[in-house]
Structure formats: structure tokens, C-alpha cells
Amino acid sequence: MVNKMKRKVDLEKVINKYKGEKGGVISVLQEVNREYGYLPEDALKLVARKLDVPLIQVYSIATFYTAFSLKPRGRHLINVCLGTACFVKGGNRILEKLERELDVKTGETTKDLKFSLETVHCIGCCSLAPVIRIDEDAYGRLKQDKVPEILKKHK
């Protein structure tokens, strides 16, 4: 598959960029994560091989930090803010509403791979609490009944 191969070539370029840098593993993984939306097994193995670090070190890092996912994420990433201000203003209720609407638990992706539902602790829009972010768009001062129409906006 041409696409896959092209990406693999890009991956090598990415890894080479950080090859000399001390502690570059995390930076490489971040770029891989950005490129693929998650961390594929093959990519992790390649990173370990090229940077000459034990595979378990790479895997350990991949599972420790929440910015990384080992499973493909949905087309749209929903981040429900559960920072203190949003929590106090009912952020939990919004999260529960989204779980019901999408029929997933937090941290999971819908079966049609359309949405991934995650939580984040403070995106810094506290005056708009409760806030959710879908990809780059932030929606504030949310009420539960507004959730379905917002979801519809994202195909």
C-alpha cells in the first residue's frame, strides 16, 4: 500500500531528526502520534531500533503518558474539560451525557471510529465552564440538551 510506505519513509526522517538528541524518545513519539493519530506497534518497534533504546523503554513511555494512544483514535477527538471550574459547574453531567449519546465509556472510541471521548484537566477557558473541545473547536457554557446538536456539527 503506497500510503503506508510513504508514511514509513516520513517516519525514518522524523526519527533521524531526533537521533542525536538526548532524551529524544518522547519528542519522536509525539511526532509519530501527531502523524498517525496514535502509536502503531510497528512504529514503536522502528523507533526503538533506530534510536537504539530497549523496546520496553519505548513501550513504557507510550503507556505512561496520556497524550499517546496505542489504539487508533476516532476521526474527531472530544475532550471534556474536568478542571475544577468546569467540575463545579457540572462538567461531569456533560461527560455522562456524551457517554450516553455516543454509547462509549470515557477513553474509548465509537464503533464507527467517528468520535473518541476523553477528558482533559483544564484547557484554560474557565470562565466558559463547563467546556468541551471537539478537535479545535471549543464549546462553552454547555447544557446537556445542547450536546446532540453539537455532535451533529462534526461529520
Binding site: E41, L44, P54, L55, I56, Q57, V58, Y59, S60, T63, F64
Partner: protein, 252 residues
């Protein structure tokens, strides 16, 4: 040399000595779980906590990882230490109620049973296996994955490891029975690490005696005669006995 006071007694130790060892010099035994002489200290289980009454950072600290300071004052059994140690062991007991070493520690502290919901984990996350594999063997097969309450010791992708040499060092330092290794015919199976390794058969008697990978690993690291990597322990012993005999009777 520096001087510190532990439980009211003065002791003199070399720079770089831990409080745990300084205490031992005085005959004071502090219980440990994640500490082992052969690998670096980790300071994770917190069973070995002591109270630094006077020092750079007063408060409770893990004695296995705390370096002795000049003029330091330490209590190994103050009420704060005893209370903390007891609760820590109770927490570990709740997680691993069937582990023999944990039950022994609990008994020593007078804990009958844990006041928390019981779990049944064999691994106590001491990290000794991880450290021995990384620091001594140099294979780095296993490590900690995930974080917080989901922390586990595993191989990458929880699958067969490409770098495990099957030496079993992990199992020998493990304070519990969590690491399961068995042999079946021509394979050594490290169940816990989802790994199967081919065993080498003895050139002389044909018995399967060590994982091929382990022998290759040793070959690279140490210069030894070929036969060490080709014949099993029993045959080696027989060989050696024969050679000694030959020397004695003047054949060689």
C-alpha cells in the same frame, strides 16, 4: 567518614552509605521489600521508612535510598514510623493477601487482616525483576507499563519478547511467586512474560540444559572455552572430574 545518630546511638560510616546500611552497622534491622543488595535501591515500597529528625529534608524517607549525612538524626521506630509502616504493609496485604513474604511482614507488624477490599495480585510492584534485568543482565526485557493503580510489570505489547534470554534472574530476585518459569521438553516457558525459548541440548548426554539465547548472550559477554556453551552441568562436572583424575595420574 561521617557521623550520624540512629535511635540515639552514634555510628560512623563512609560517605555514600545509606541509612539502611548505617542502621545495620548498629545491629538495627529495618524491614524491606523492594531492596536487594545486587541492584540499585528504588525506594518504592516505603516499608523501610524511617524518620529523619535532623537533616536536609526532615520527615519520613525510605532508608534504602537515603544517603547518610553528617550530623543526621534518625529514628527507625518512632510512632510516626511504626504507624506508617503498619498501614503500608496493610495496604500491600490488601493487594496481595496470598503472598507469603507479605503475610510474614504483616504478622510481624501484628496485622491480622486488611481493612480494605481484597485483591489478589501476586506481583507487589517492587521492581526487582526490572532492575536486575536492566542493570545486571543488560537485556531490558521487562519494565513498568501504564501508571498509577494500573501499573504492571510486562513485556512490550504483553507479548513474546525478542530480547529475553531466559536466564531466570528475574524469578530469583522476586520476593513473591509472581514470576512463573517452567520447562517443557525442549522449551523454557516464561509464562509471566509470554515468552517461549528453545533450549540447547547437551552435546554429550542430549539433555536440554539452557536456553540457546542465554548461551549466546554469555558467549558475547565472557570469554570462556567453547565446551561451556555446548555441554550441560552434569557432563561438565563429569568432564572436570575426569580431567582432574587424568592430571593426578599423570596422563596430562
Amino acid at each position: 567518614m561521617l557521623n550520624l545518630i540512629i535511635d540515639g546511638k552514634e555510628v560512623s560510616v563512609e560517605k555514600g552509605t545509606t541509612v539502611l546500611h548505617a542502621a545495620r552497622k548498629l545491629g538495627i534491622e529495618i524491614p524491606t521489600l523492594c531492596y536487594h543488595e545486587g541492584v540499585s535501591p528504588y525506594g518504592a515500597c516505603r516499608v523501610c521508612v524511617v524518620e529523619v529528625v535532623k537533616g536536609m529534608k526532615p520527615g519520613l524517607t525510605a532508608s534504602c535510598a537515603c544517603l547518610a549525612e553528617q550530623g543526621m538524626e534518625v529514628r527507625t521506630n518512632s510512632p510516626s514510623v511504626v504507624d506508617s509502616r503498619r498501614l503500608i504493609i496493610e495496604l500491600i496485604l490488601a493487594r496481595s493477601p496470598e503472598v507469603k513474604k507479605v503475610r510474614e511482614l504483616a504478622q510481624e507488624m501484628g496485622i491480622e487482616k486488611a481493612r480494605f477490599r481484597k485483591e489478589d495480585k501476586e506481583c507487589i510492584l517492587c521492581g526487582l525483576c526490572v532492575r536486575v534485568c536492566q542493570e545486571i543482565i543488560g537485556a531490558s526485557v521487562i519494565g513498568f507499563i501504564n501508571r498509577g493503580a494500573n501499573r504492571e510489570v510486562e513485556t512490550p505489547f504483553q507479548a513474546q519478547s525478542d530480547v529475553c534470554i531466559g536466564c531466570g534472574a528475574c524469578s530469583s530476585v522476586c520476593p513473591t511467586e509472581a514470576i512463573k518459569i517452567k520447562e517443557m521438553f525442549d522449551k523454557r516457558i516464561l509464562e509471566t512474560w509470554h515468552t517461549e525459548l528453545e533450549l540447547k541440548s547437551c552435546k554429550i548426554c542430549g539433555r536440554y540444559f539452557a536456553p540457546k539465547k542465554e548461551l549466546e548472550h554469555l558467549k558475547e559477554k565472557i570469554e570462556l572455552p567453547e565446551e561451556i556453551f555446548e555441554i550441560c552441568e552434569d557432563c561438565k562436572r563429569k568432564n572436570l572430574t575426569r580431567k582432574i583424575g587424568e592430571i593426578k595420574t599423570g596422563i596430562i
